[in-house]
Every structure is written in structure tokens, then in C-alpha cells.
């Protein structure tokens, strides 16, 4: 049994941020993170804690997504309802939300492997950890990240331009 306190303290924030970025849903992210730590408790040995946690979290998300798509839809519906009832956010919030939405769309546009590699890199995992979490060779991580970053930025810029075009239309 592992020192879950330490694991939790060291990695929870990182894991939740990673999962939130990946899932776009903080609650869901927190749940997955919790479940990951619960599993960590039962794990006898871990050669690399960080890589192990991210691997388990990835698997949980995958299983969850498979089983839970119906619930997700319901949740989305609730969110929509909730949004309808809320008053218009102020301007800076709109801008931020737009940015976040574009970022989300750009990230979602990546293939799964690229996306995960990028998000894990962003949380400070090194190439060997990412490789072990994704079951890839260390040598291919550089290429994967290069592709992921390029695509992400290109897609984001494309969305940004579209957005500006729309706003230009609206302003005229």
C-alpha cells in the first residue's frame, strides 16, 4: 500500500488539471482523479508513480466515456438548461469563454494520442513517462509532440480567424 496522502498531495492538482483540460469538465475530472488515487491504494508496486497515475486516469476516462455517454448527454442537457437560466456574463467573461471554447475545439481536433501526449507534457511528465503511459516508444514522443503542437496551434489560429471574420461581419 502506498502513502496515499503523499501521492494525493503531490499529484492531485496536476492530475485534476490534466483531466479538466482533457475532459472540459472539472467535476468529472475530480472524480476520475479520486478514482485513480483509490486504485493507487490498491496497487502493490509502481515503478513510476506519475506515469502510473496518468495511465490509470487515461484508462478510467476511456472506460467511463464508453459506459457513460448517455449520462454525459443528460449532463450536457442540464448544463444547457443551467446556462439558459444564467444572466449574460460580462464582457471579459465572454472573451475568456470564447478563447476557452476555441482552445477546446482545437484540442478536440487532435487525434487522441497527440492530445494526451501534449496534455501530459504540459503537466511536466517527461518523454519516458508519457511513453509508458501511452504505450509508445520514447523515441516517437518528440515527433508526436511536434505534430500535436503544430496542429493545435494551426487549428486554433484557424478558429481565431473564423471568429474574427464573424465579428467583422457583425460590426459592419
Amino acid at each position: 500500500m502506498h502513502d496515499v496522502d503523499r501521492l494525493f498531495r503531490s499529484y492531485n492538482e496536476m492530475l485534476v488539471r490534466y483531466l479538466t483540460r482533457r475532459l472540459g469538465d472539472r467535476d468529472w475530472a475530480e472524480e476520475v482523479a479520486q478514482e485513480t488515487f483509490v486504485r493507487a491504494l490498491r496497487q502493490e508496486t509502481m515503478t513510476n508513480e506519475r506515469a502510473w497515475l496518468f495511465t490509470v486516469a487515461n484508462n478510467l476516462v476511456r472506460d467511463e466515456a464508453r459506459k457513460d455517454s448517455r449520462r454525459r448527454r443528460h449532463l450536457t442537457m442540464l448544463y444547457e438548461e443551467e446556462k439558459e437560466r444564467t444572466v449574460e456574463p460580462e464582457e471579459s467573461a465572454i472573451e475568456r469563454a470564447q478563447e476557452a471554447a476555441m482552445a477546446r475545439a482545437a484540442v478536440d481536433g487532435l487525434v487522441e494520442r497527440d492530445r494526451l501526449a501534449l496534455l501530459m507534457k504540459e503537466e511536466g511528465l517527461d518523454y519516458s513517462e508519457i511513453a509508458s503511459a501511452l504505450g509508445m516508444s520514447v523515441g516517437s514522443i518528440g515527433t508526436t509532440l511536434a505534430r500535436a503542437r503544430r496542429r493545435l496551434v494551426e487549428q486554433y489560429e484557424r478558429l481565431q480567424q473564423e471568429q474574427q471574420r464573424r465579428e467583422g461581419n457583425a460590426a459592419s
Binding site: R26, D27, V38, H74, E82, V107, G142, R147, A170
Partner: protein, 493 residues
């Protein structure tokens, strides 16, 4: 060395190359303009993608309602699969994985001790189990007084972890007082099993039958010397006895005539237990789990319906505006209604705002507002424009009297090649809609020729120097329209 591939460049920038390779790359980049450019580009991608990923952290506010209860609110609102709340994660973990034995000794020094053993027997099932500690917990009675079992179990569980989200519903359900109807309420009390209601009832049953089994064992076992008041009573009565509650406590002395002291003690215990239930169920009732609907009308003192008045539940982002007949309907999601009282405020330009405290407990709630006219009030109104990123659309501060139209909404659409901007303003007595059309001369003339299509709605159409055609329309008197036009665009030529 041939030119660097993108992957190597990124690995280098990420500090992931072994020293030898790193030196090679550095040397190559120093002497190769093409690769230096590729490195510069890669740096750009690294920085930009990092920035984009950071933007993901700004999760829109509407998605996870921020409230006093934090993200717990959202958690309750939605079906959840994993249940332990983050804060309790460590507690739950301990309960799941270790065997916890708690000896709860009564303050009276009574020999009756309760041993609650939470055995982690089904560890493999644990992830599927919403409240492992609850599911796996079983109480073992040490002394011979079986009839105390339930009440003690409840009291002890509650004492073991008075605030534990897992223990609270366990305590509530063990006594059977938290019936199916109360179960969701118990969840609301920061319990960790929001959507698993049927399951938790199921667990209650399981726990009960386990207790039943323990009791039977106890009955056939010779007592440890202490009197067994219930030993001779008919077994079927045990079921009833298993439901500790305040009124049950009065049955107690009759059930144990031979041992009045013990009976007294047990009655105390039952009271303890039932006070736990009472506080839990009171809390549950107060909390409520249903979405709360607040409806009503906003009228002037003269009884005229006031349209476009804003009705806001203060302290939340829940707001609406009244429709043409002055009616409104607000829906407070269950997650936001914790039985608290919040002021509901109705506002409309030219009228005094009215507030009413609304207890968010029952549904539906009806509240009508009568707004007193307040023509003298001078107020500042901040008008916030949509289309945020466009230059010049910064929030404008409009200082003026109540006579100022207040923008309610704005939208842009395309119509036969023209951009049409539709803006709705709240004005005194209703709303007016401004339609601005960047029209070609043709369209302009065609539109100008068109008569207002609705006789109940007045409208003025004019074109300004920029060739933009504007139509102002609304169910307000013509002179009000004219006034709004002047307020918005100044004196017209």
C-alpha cells in the same frame, strides 16, 4: 549531419535529448540557417500550444455553478458515478482499505460496547460500490442485549465519523428512518452518493439483514452474565424493535421489565439515536431536492403589467425578465436551493425596485410584485455590449435618468445580403426594438415604402447619413418611440 527533423527539435527544446545528441543538435543549429528557422518555429509552437492549453482552464462559469457549496452543487445536480468527494477521499480510502475497529464506549460507563468493523473484504468490488465503507460496514454486537443493536449501531456510526459523508447516510439508513423519499435529501447533506439512491436503499437493506443475522446469533448465544431482557420476547417483534425512533423509546421499558436500569439506559441511547435521525431528517427536509419554480407577475401600482422588468434571485445568477403580460418564471435548480432564504428583486427603469425574501424550500413559489413609479430617481446604468472582442464595444457607462433606454439584447443576422443588427432596449412601459440595416439603396427604399406590419406596434423608420436604415418599433406610444430615438441618436435632422 542531415537537417534536423521536427521531432528531434521538439525533443531538444523539451530537454529530452541525451547529452551527446544534444551537443550535435546545438552544433548543427548554430551553422544551419534552415534548421535555426525550424527551431524558431518550433519554439513558437511550444509556447503557443502551452498558452492554448492554459486557456482550457477557464471553464465557463455557467457550467460549474459557483456557490457557497462550491462544486458540490454541480455534483449533486448531475448523475455521478464515482462518489467520494475529494475532501473525503482520504477518509473513504482509509475505510475502504483498512479494517477499522472502533470501540464506542458509552459515557455512562455501560458495559455495552459496540464494535463497528468495516472490513475491506470486497476490495475488488470497491470501485463499483458508491460507498464502500457503508456497504462493507457491519456492526457486531458484543454484549448480549440484542435489542440495543440498531440504536447503538446508528449512534456509534455517527460518532465514529460525525461528519463523514459516508457515515452520515449510513447512520440515517441503518435505522430505517431515512426511507426512500428521504434518501436523496440525505445525499444533499454533503453525502457522497448523489445519484445512487436505489443502491443506497439497497445497502440499507443489506445492512439491516446483516444486523438481523447478528442479532439471531446473539440470541442463541449464552449471555456474558448480563441480563438479556429481550431474549424471551417473540422473535417477530424484533423487526419492529429494529426501528429506533423517539416514540419507540417509550416501548422500551415494557420490553425490558426485568432490568429497569438497563432499559433506562437503552431508552437514552434510543433518544440519542433518534435525535441523530431527527436532525438528519430536519436537515433533509429543509434542504429539499426538487427544482424550485418561482412564478409571479410584476405590475405597476395601477395594476398594469410591467414587461421587461428584471427579476433576480440575489446571490445567484438566476434571473429572468418579465414577458409582455408582466409574468415571470424562475427555475432554481435543486443544486442551488439549499433551503436558504434569498431576496428576490424586481427592477424596472422608472420604478422603485422591490425585494422579497424567498425561502427556497417549497415549490412552486408564487410571488407578485407591485412596483411603485419612481420618476425622480436618477441612476447610473452600465450597459454592457455583446460582441465583446469588437473594438468600440467596450462596456459603456451611460449616465442619465430613468429615461435612458437600457439595452437588453443585441443580435446580428443576415438578410438578403444585408447585415441586420437587432437591438432590444428596455424603455419605460415596455421594450422597443431597433433594427439597423446596412442596406443598399434599393433595399432601403423598398423598406421605407413598407408600412408597419402590425398596427399594435408603432414604428419609425429613417435612414442616417451613413446610409444605414434604422427602424425603431415597439408597443409603446409614438412619442415614446421618438423620445427613445432622440435618446439613442440625438436630435434627428
Amino acid at each position: 549531419m542531415q537537417h534536423l527533423d521536427e521531432g528531434t527539435i521538439h525533443a531538444w527544446l523539451d530537454g529530452e535529448l541525451p547529452p551527446a545528441e544534444r551537443a550535435e543538435v546545438e552544433a548543427h543549429v548554430a551553422g544551419c540557417a534552415q534548421c535555426a528557422a525550424a527551431v524558431a518555429e518550433a519554439r513558437g509552437f511550444v509556447a503557443a500550444s502551452s498558452r492554448i492549453l492554459t486557456a482550457l482552464d477557464s471553464v465557463p462559469g455557467g457550467v460549474i455553478p459557483a456557490s457557497a457549496t462550491g462544486s458540490g452543487a454541480a455534483r449533486r445536480a448531475a448523475p455521478r458515478r464515482f462518489v467520494a468527494s475529494r475532501a473525503w477521499m482520504a477518509v473513504a480510502a482509509v475505510l475502504v482499505l483498512s479494517t477499522v475497529t472502533v470501540i464506542a464506549t458509552r459515557p455512562s460507563g455501560d458495559t455495552a460496547q459496540l464494535r463497528v468493523a468495516a472490513a475491506a473484504r470486497d476490495q475488488k468490488e470497491a470501485p463499483e460500490s458508491p460507498i464502500p465503507s457503508q456497504e462493507q460496514a457491519h456492526a457486531m454486537k458484543k454484549s448480549g442485549r440484542s435489542e440495543e443493536l440498531d440504536s447503538q449501531a446508528v449512534g456509534a456510526v455517527a460518532r465514529v465519523a460525525p461528519d463523514s459523508p459516508a457515515a452520515a447516510p449510513a447512520a440515517a439508513s441503518a435505522g430505517g428512518k431515512a426511507a426512500a423519499g428521504n434518501a436523496p435529501a440525505a445525499m444533499q447533506s454533503r453525502a457522497a452518493a448523489p445519484s445512487e439512491q436505489p443502491k443506497s436503499v439497497d445497502q440499507t437493506e443489506r445492512l439491516k439483514s446483516r444486523l438481523e443475522a447478528e442479532r439471531k446469533t446473539t440470541l442463541v448465544r449464552p449471555s456474558d452474565g448480563a441480563p438479556r431482557p429481550m431474549a424471551d420476547a417473540a422473535p417477530p417483534s424484533r423487526n419492529a424493535e429494529a426501528q429506533p425512533s423517539a416514540n419507540r423509546a417509550s416501548d422500551k421499558p415494557a420490553a425490558a421489565p426485568a432490568a429497569p436500569e438497563i432499559a433506562k439506559d437503552m431508552a437514552e441511547k434510543r433518544e440519542d439515536a433518534s435525535s441523530v435521525y431527527d436532525s438528519l431528517s430536519a436537515r433533509s427536509a429543509a434542504i429539499g431536492v426538487r427544482e424550485i419554480t418561482i412564478t409571479g407577475r410584476v405590475t405597476s401600482e395601477a395594476g398594469a403589467p410591467l414587461a421587461a422588468a428584471s427579476v433576480v434571485l440575489e446571490g445567484t445568477h438566476i434571473a429572468t425578465t418579465t414577458s409582455a403580460d408582466g409574468s415571470y418564471a424562475l427555475h432554481v435548480p435543486a443544486a442551488r436551493a439549499n433551503g436558504q432564504t434569498a431576496p428576490l428583486v424586481a427592477r424596472l427603469m422608472g420604478y422603485k425596485a422591490a425585494a422579497a425574501p424567498i425561502a427556497l424550500a417549497d415549490t412552486p413559489i408564487t410571488h407578485d410584485f407591485v412596483l411603485a413609479a419612481n420618476p425622480l430617481s436618477l441612476s447610473e446604468v452600465v450597459v454592457t455590449g455583446q460582441g465583446a472582442a469588437a473594438a468600440g464595444a467596450r462596456p459603456r457607462r451611460v449616465t442619465g435618468t430613468d429615461e435612458s433606454p437600457v439595452m437588453v439584447s443585441r443580435s446580428t443576422s443576415m438578410d438578403s445580403g444585408d447585415t441586420v443588427v437587432t437591438t432590444t432596449y428596455a424603455v419605460r412601459g415596455g421594450t422597443v426594438t431597433l433594427i439597423e440595416r446596412s442596406a443598399t439603396q434599393d433595399t432601403l427604399q423598398r423598406q421605407m415604402a413598407k408600412a408597419p406590419d402590425d398596427t399594435h406596434i408603432n414604428s419609425i423608420t429613417w435612414s442616417d447619413s451613413s446610409g444605414r436604415m434604422r427602424t425603431l418599433r415597439g408597443a409603446v406610444p409614438p412619442d415614446e418611440l421618438e423620445r427613445v430615438r432622440t435618446a439613442l441618436f440625438g436630435a434627428t435632422p
